[in-house]
Structure formats: structure tokens, C-alpha cells
Symmetry: C2
Subunit: 509 residues, 2 copies
């Protein structure tokens, strides 16, 4: 199946009979339904039907008709999906993760409901019937076999669940997707609802436990749409100075742990969020002393690909790619070479607590605020506006062998401290955060009680501009707090937040 | 081994040679060491050495010498252990859970360091070397076999880890413990540090995967002390009116889930915290329509024993007993009859995320405060004073098939609302809380976004006396909040807390 022509990728005669335009397919989605769409961090989302549907919704609106759907995905998607549907106010309920500016704006204006869910929970909630009925699946694939099985595209996410659970399936066959993706995926059909669950038999990152295709009932397919369009990919920005400092602290720490005998010489499987800092850590590992690394992670970004290329990373298991256009070009030019080193799995497996804990992953995730006692906010600005969502960070942090959170010590041009007395929203509790790293240094919170943590976090992680104020808060809390296990002055705990004064004043006015 | 005489329970000749008094044994524990003690919710803790050690510490103090140790346990213990050591200010660092009044007072006065840890994490942190060196183990057992293997007593907790990891072992052989306990335990020796971990082969609550004894190196044993003393047991208070109402709401909910096909007719394995409400739920199940129930839980309390007796509960897996004196008497009188239905496991297995998620446990835990968005505080009063600790509630809540939290809607004689705008400490995030129940009603938060949750929590769970104020907060937050995903007025979020005004005034004075 070596072709850039979508039609020639649809080998199943029955499904060839369902080929239609995006407009015709979008017309099959009525208002009020829940739609499960493919897509994870800008890879493998449907390129045609959602934006066409958005236009239909706009038309309905122009005729005074309400038209909204529930949008369920793997994780974040792209402007053609989240952006387009949010723009026309077409989303009643969005889950489980997003990072789209238009979407975010609607959510924070109170115009769109959003449920932020641990990514490992989504499939089981849907199977359990907790989120209501899934009506339609809109899933991008790289091709269709003669017997109707589907070749996954550049992300897996919740696609298996959507295809199993939806009454009606719309497939987008994207000729842009590399045909060599075939065989890279490991779709596990062994999950079940309790009491029928069995152990998930992954004991090494490169264990394949499933099959390379999605199974479907072809009778559920109501439309097949041909596309030829690239994934959204974010350009890669080379690591900045702060990211390099953060990466340096983490690499020093890992070397120290190896020296102390607390980590094997080739470390343990790495998990890392996306973004500048994550890429800097990967870049650091390229020059570092570690060999035979592995990754059990959610997304495969540029830095990991580089590590595979230079032979330092022997296997990366993920649920999606998240590459810059340049890295993607390189990958696509040479995909068969990477096939032995990359496995894409459903997100309930890439993020499964059972597997993450068994493998003993080293988790590295970003944050918005951390507090002096080690609680982490990954999602909310001012405790009230969502940024993206918790994503898989909870799946990894709670079950990791070592749970690391990393951030620049300040945000918004240095005006806001990312180390605060008390986080305004908690996604990761003090029980789940072992290491906090900023460009200033690394706080190792293992084996420390709250008051001991506070000192280390302030002295190692806070920006010098905010350190005195944090020390002062802590000292006064120690003196005046009603309890001294976790000393706090609750009426002052949030005065560090950006626009604190402005917000209070605006309300008083 | 059917005897109440401790000596005759010590069959290993080598270890018989180590028999000494509690005073002699306590004298072998120097200041500054970390001591791993047995004990879980008042069962199976050492009865003699800790209190004798406390007297030694008091003597040292009277002579102007500092004498403190680190105390690690399974969970909470008893006055003879936590109470005695805290009374003489002999604890440098306490982990992972306590519920002792003297201990709590010291911690909240800032005089004792306390690390509150997910109970499933403790063993792996110790094996990983994250908490420092474990120097001494002081473990109660029910007997010693000829070859030196140990018969566990009424709790398992972290004993396997303490016995494996400590250089020096002190054993207390308690003749009070029922000799028929032999064979009831399932001590799993298959755990390992990554990258050597394998699946934990439990697929049903009654699967036995280990052996009934602890293995030790007899050369590490420095003392064997004979005791004959009952476990601390809390008298059972019959369910009060509120607990019965809460239990009623939960039973209605479970029946509804069965009817909807979202739960099997015999439910899924039950987990429940201890206390009045938990016992009321168990009492409700006795009269309810469910048969062939199972439990995969942390502690086995009176209500579960009653369910076993009446044939409704076929198997309970736990790490400890937590029974009233009356229930204990009944159990002890007829232990062999219960042997097929009860398994006691190490707490890293009773609380293992892998097993809990696989089995699909129905988790029911208590709380101190829940907020309108579904975040739960299980540990802190006024965000600053510890009550007990998170215990296993996080292990169960995060990995449960359905995660239920339950509480009376108000505390302190009705003067304090347990439903608040924003919890003052988060142990369970909005991502981990699906059902909140008070005597007022049950809020099913599955599939609801934050603002939808707020309405349900206020209307279903809050006490009518506090409902108007909560509605008012929410309405004003909706209007004035900087973001409207999770509307909040951060400067007012804590004004619901008890003594809020008193505390602010005290500080201003
Ligand atoms: C937390 C998270 C938002 C950080 O993102 P990042 O790209 O690494 O970090 P950035 O420093 O670029 O911050 C992102 C934004 O938050 C803002 N921000 C960060 N800290 C802030 C703070 N304390 N106060 C206000 N704004 C803050 C930044 O200014 C930036 O906003 P902008 O784009 O408008 O300038 C991101 O890691 C995330 O969404 N995490 C949750 C999901 C997750 O961890 N997934 C990992 C895969 S399992
Ligand atoms: C949360 C927890 C303390 C509730 O305990 P409980 O015995 O069910 O409930 P109670 O209503 O008796 O409350 C316990 C105490 O907290 C106080 N309390 C409860 N809610 C309060 C509130 N909102 N504000 C102030 N005090 C509060 C009660 O007054 C009582 O104090 P008192 O003994 O001084 O009167 C208890 O469940 C716990 O420790 N949980 C964490 C560990 C866990 O969940 N383990 C489960 C096994 S896995």
C-alpha cells in the first residue's frame, strides 16, 4: 500500500461504496449527538469533516437554529477541529483535553462546558457508560484493508474505543499519512470491564501485545471521506537558556541517582510532556552519559526522535507523534528505519497506571504553579481559567518511579512567580510530587515533611526576586497559622497571583 | 500451634536463644535510628517494646539527653506505640499515617515532622532508598516456625518490607493472637524494583499468590520478646441517623447502577474506610438485595464480618482487621470458619493501583471537606492542621471503578459546613471524585463539567442551613470570577471555614 492516492488505500469493496464528500458526510451528523473524534496533540485528527461540520453549524446558526454537539477526542487536536467548532459555538461539551486558543476562550467565558479527565480514564468511562452514549465516531486512518480492518494514522488516542462504541462511523482516509505507518501500531483488544479484566502483559517498553489494525464492523460505517492533508505540527523552537538550565539540573539529578544506586545505569523508561523544557532534556540526554534508554510516554516529540537517531534511545512507546514539520519530514523520509524503535498504542495502554507503575517510569511534566509544600497546579490560571487540562500528567506522576515537575521559576516576563504559597488549583497533590525543578535549581522532596519541603522549594526553586516574599510568608505562617503541620495564612495565600489586586478592585468597583 | 503461651510459639531454636525482656530489647534501639514497626489501624502493633522504649526516652530526656527516632508503620497504631512515643517527644519523623491524639497534637504544634504518604507507595519508597535507611524492625507475630519463618498476626501492613530491609529485627511474639491466624495471610514475595517488575497475578479478590509466612534471615534477629496483650480495638457505635441516611443513598445508587447495567448484580469488590458511615453501609448491605459480594479493601471492620457471617460476602481481602472488642471476640471464637473468606495481604498489594484498577473496586471513603467543584480534603482542618492522613484513600479513589466519598453535610454540631466553595487542602482532585454523598443526598458528578457539578453538589449534598450561602457564593463567582471554567472569588473562598473570623482577628491583634 505505497500510494499517495486515498482511493487506492481503500481496499474493502463494501467501504469503497461509502465514499462521499466531506459535505455529505458532515450532513450525517445531527445536532445534539456525541461525536468521538480521532486526534492527539495535533496528529491524526480528521482533516475535513469537523471543519465542514462547523460551516454547517454556522449556517444553522445564521438561520436561528441551535446546533451543538459533544466533542470527545484523544487529547488536543488542531484549528480545523477544535478551533473551527469552537469558533461557531458548536460544542456543547468538550472532553478530555484541549489546548486550542478559541476553545479555551469559550470555556473560560463560560460558553462551553469542558470536562478535564485523566487520559487513562476516558476509555473506561465510555465503556462503563459514565459519559452517556457515543453516537458517531469520526476517525482518520492511513488506509483500509480488504477485509475492512483499518490502518491507524499518526495517533491512536481513543480511536479503538470510538470505533467499538459508536453506532455510526465516519472514516477519513488521509493519503498524506505515510503508508509505512502500517505495522507501527499495537492495538490491544484485551481490555474489558470488571470483573473480566486480566493483567496487561507489558513488562518491557517494546512488548507488543496487540495487532497493527483497528477492527470494525463495516456495517457501522456510514461514510468514507478521502483527504490529503498534513497534520498540524508546531514548529520547533530551539531550547532557550532557562530550559537548558532546567535540563541540566535534571541530568545532574539522574546521574546522582545512578551513582547512589537508586537508578540503573540506563535509567528507567522516560516519560515527558511536550514543549521547550522537555525537548531540552532530550537534547541534554543526547550529549549525556546514558545509553540504551527507553521511553514509555504519551507523545513522541523531536527530542526523542533525535535520541533514536543517535542510537541512545532503543525504544519509544507512545500514543501519538507530536513533531515539528522538520522532524516530521525526516521521519517520513526514513520511516521504515524507525519502525523497530517506535510503538503507538491506545491511550488507555500508553497511560495505564498498571503498566506505568510496573515499568517504573521517570515522569517529567510541566506545571503552571507549584506551592512551597509541593502541590502542583497544571491546569488553571488564577484558580479559575483553564489553560489546557491535566492530560496524562496524573497517570504518570502518581505511578512513576520518580515524579518530576519542571517549570521556569517565573512567568509573564518575570512578573509572576511560578512558586507560590498555595496553588490556586490542585492537580497533583503533595503526595504525588517528588522533584520540582526550575532554572534556579532542583528540590528533592522525597522523605521530607511539609515544613522541610517549604524551605527546600523556596531556596532551590523560587526566583530570587520572589524568594524574600516567600520566606516572609512562610515565616509569618509558621507563627500565625492555626495549625503548624502545613502552615498557611489562608487570607494571604493567593496574594501572589497575577492581577490579584486588579481583580479585587474590579469587583469592588 | 494451639497455645496461649508465647514461649511454646517460638519453635526455632536459634530464635529461642534471643528471648529477652522488653527492657533489654528496647535498650538495643539507639537514638537517631529509623524504626519500622508493625501495626495497622490498631491491629498487630508491637505491644511491649515501643512503650518500654518511650520510658527509656523519658529517662534520657530527664538526664538532659536528646533521644528521638523515626517511626515508620503500616498505618495508625495505638496509644502504647504512637501515644507513648509522642508523649515523651521521642519521634523525629513519623510516616506514613497516624490517627493518635497525642501524635496529632505534636504534629500540629510543629513539634514533630510527619510525612503523609499513599499507603501503596511506602514499600516501594523504602526499597528504592527514597526515605533513608531503615535500621531496626519491631514486628509483632503470632508465632515462629522451626525454620525461623514467622506467622503474621492481626495485620500485615509493611511488615514484609521492614523484615527484609532492616539490619536488625526485634520480634514480639504475642500469645494473645489467635493461633488459627496461621494460614490466613498471603505474603507475596514477587515484587521487585523496576526494571524487574512482573504483573501481580490477582484477578479475583480471593486469589492467593503468596505464602502464609514471612521469611527472614534469623541472623538479623537481635531480640525476641514474649507478650500476651490484646490489640487496641475501638468499641462499635451503632450507626446514627445520618450514617443510615448516607448508607441509604449509596444503596439506592448501587441498585440504580445495576438496573442501568453499569454494575453486575453482585456489584464489584467493595472497599470502604472505617468508621460509622462505612459500618452503616455494610449494615445496609445486610438487608439489601445483593448476594455474592466481595471486598478488596484495606481494613476489615465489623460490618464486613457481619456480611460474611450472613453469607452475603463471600471473600474479603484486606491488610488488617479493625474490629470492635465484641466482633473480635466473635471472630476469635470461630476463626477457622472465617478462614476461607478472609485474606490478609501486605499493604502494597491490598492497595496496589494495578490490582485495584483491574478488579474495578467500588471505593467508599470519608472526607473532611468537599468543594462545590468536587475536590476533596481528607486530611487537613483549616488547611493547616492534620487530622489523620490520606491513608489508602488515594490508591482506591484514583483507581476505583466508581469512586464515592461520603460525609455528614456538617460538622461540629452543625456549625461547620462540610461542603465549601474551595477546599483548604486537596487530597483528591476533581479528576478523582465521582460521587459525593451526605445525609442530604447523593451527587453523581460523572460526565459533568465544573459548573454543572457545583449546582449538583450544592443542591444534593449541602446542609439546608448552608445552601443559600453556597448558592450566593457560586452566583457571585459566576459573575465576578476572572475565569468562568471554575468560577471562584479567591479572597472569599475560605470564609466558610470554622474560626475564620476568630483566626484573622487573633492575628491582627
Ligand atoms: C502546565 C503547562 C501549561 C505548561 O506549559 P509549557 O508550554 O511547558 O510552559 P509555558 O511556560 O510556555 O506556559 C504555558 C502558558 O502558561 C502561562 N503560565 C505559566 N505559568 C504561569 C503562571 N504561574 N501564572 C500565569 N500564567 C502562567 C505562560 O505564560 C504561558 O502562557 P502564554 O502562552 O499565554 O504565554 C503544560 O505543561 C500543560 O498543559 N500541562 C498539563 C498536561 C500535561 O502535563 N501533559 C503532559 C503529557 S502527559
Ligand atoms: C476524613 C476522615 C477524618 C473522616 O473521619 P470520620 O470518622 O469518618 O468522620 P467524623 O465525622 O467523625 O470526623 C472526624 C473528625 O473530623 C472533624 N471534622 C469533620 N469535618 C470537619 C470540617 N469540615 N471541619 C472541621 N472539622 C471537621 C469531626 O468533627 C471529627 O473531629 P472530632 O473527632 O474532634 O469531633 C477519615 O475518613 C480519614 O481520616 N480519612 C483519610 C484516610 C482514609 O480515607 N482512609 C480510608 C481507608 S483506605
Amino acid at each position: 500500500m505505497q500510494t499517495n492516492n486515498a482511493s487506492s488505500r481503500i481496499l474493502c469493496p463494501h467501504l469503497r461504496g461509502k465514499i462521499m464528500s466531506a459535505e455529505e458526510a458532515a450532513a450525517l451528523i445531527p445536532s445534539g449527538v456525541n461525536v468521538g473524534m480521532s486526534g492527539f496533540t495535533g496528529a491524526g485528527y480528521p482533516k475535513a469533516v469537523p471543519s465542514t461540520l462547523a460551516k454547517r453549524i454556522m449556517d444553522a446558526n445564521l438561520h436561528g437554529k441551535k446546533f451543538k454537539i459533544g466533542v470527545w477526542t484523544g487529547a488536543s487536536t488542531a484549528p480545523e477541529l477544535d478551533g473551527a467548532l469552537a469558533m461557531v459555538d458548536g460544542v456543547e461539551m468538550r472532553l478530555p483535553y484541549q489546548s486550542d486558543p478559541t476553545c479555551r476562550k469559550r470555556i473560560n467565558a463560560g460558553e462551553m462546558e469542558y470536562i478535564d479527565i485523566h487520559l487513562s480514564h476516558v476509555a473506561q468511562f465510555v465503556w462503563g457508560g459514565f459519559l452517556g452514549k457515543l453516537d458517531v465516531a469520526v476517525v482518520e486512518v492511513a488506509g483500509i484493508l480488504e477485509d475492512g480492518r483499518l490502518i491507524p494514522s499518526s495517533s491512536v488516542g481513543n480511536n479503538k474505543t470510538w470505533l467499538d462504541q459508536a453506532d455510526k462511523i465516519i472514516l477519513e482516509v488521509n493519503a498524506w499519512q505515510n503508508p509505512h505507518l502500517e505495522g507501527m501500531h499495537d492495538i490491544y483488544y484485551g481490555t474489558a470491564l470488571p470483573p473480566h479484566r486480566k493483567p496487561i502483559p507489558i513488562v518491557k517498553t517494546d512488548d507488543r501485545i496487540g495487532e497493527p489494525y483497528y477492527r470494525i464492523d463495516p456495517n457501522n460505517v456510514i461514510a468514507v471521506v478521502e483527504t490529503n492533508k498534513a497534520d498540524r505540527n508546531s514548529p520547533f523552537t530551539p531550547p532557550d537558556a532557562n530550559s537548558k538550565l532546567i535540563a541540566g539540573h535534571i541530568l545532574d539529578f539522574l546521574q546522582h541517582e545512578v551513582k547512589k544506586g537508586r537508578l540503573p545505569a540506563n535509567l528507567l523508561p522516560l516519560q515527558s510532556g511536550v514543549g521547550n523544557v522537555a525537548n531540552a532534556v532530550m537534547a541534554g540526554l543526547q550529549d549525556g552519559p546514558f545509553e540504551n534508554l527507553t521511553a514509555y510516554t504519551e507523545v513522541l516529540q523531536d527530542g526523542m526522535l533525535d535520541l533514536i537517531k543517535c542510537g541512545k534511545l532503543t525504544c519509544a512507546s507512545a500514543t501519538s507523534f507530536s513533531l515539528s514539520p522538520a522532524a516530521l519530514e525526516e521521519l517520513n523520509a526514513d520511516l521504515p528505519r524507525f519502525k523497530d524503535s517506535i510503538i503507538l498504542r491506545p491511550q488507555e495502554i500508553s497511560n495505564h497506571p498498571e503498566v506505568i507503575r510496573r515499568l517504573g517510569v521517570i515522569a517529567m511534566n510541566g506545571l503552571i504553579e507549584a506551592d512551597i509544600y509541593g502541590n502542583v497546579n497544571s491546569t488553571h490560571i488564577m484558580g479559575t481559567s483553564i489553560m489546557n487540562g491535566i492530560g496524562g500528567s496524573g497517570d504518570f506522576a502518581r505511578n512513576a518511579f520518580i515524579s518530576i515537575f519542571m517549570t521556569p521559576s517565573s512567568a509573564k516576563g518575570g512578573s509572576v512567580s511560578c512558586i507560590v504559597p498555595m496553588v490556586s488549583h490542585v492537580d497533583h497533590t503533595e503526595h504525588d510530587v517528588q522533584i520540582i525543578v526550575t532554572e534556579q535549581g532542583l528540590a528533592d522532596l522525597r522523605g521530607l515533611a511539609p515544613k522541610q519541603r517549604a524551605k527546600v522549594v523556596i531556596e532551590k526553586c523560587a526566583h530570587p526576586n520572589f524568594r524574600p516574599a516567600l520566606r516572609e510568608y512562610y515565616d509569618r505562617a509558621l507563627r500565625y497559622s492555626p495549625g503548624r503541620h502545613t502552615p498557611h495564612l489562608l487570607d494571604e495565600a493567593y496574594t501572589f497571583l497575577p492581577n490579584w489586586v486588579a481583580n479585587q478592585t474590579a469587583r469592588a468597583a
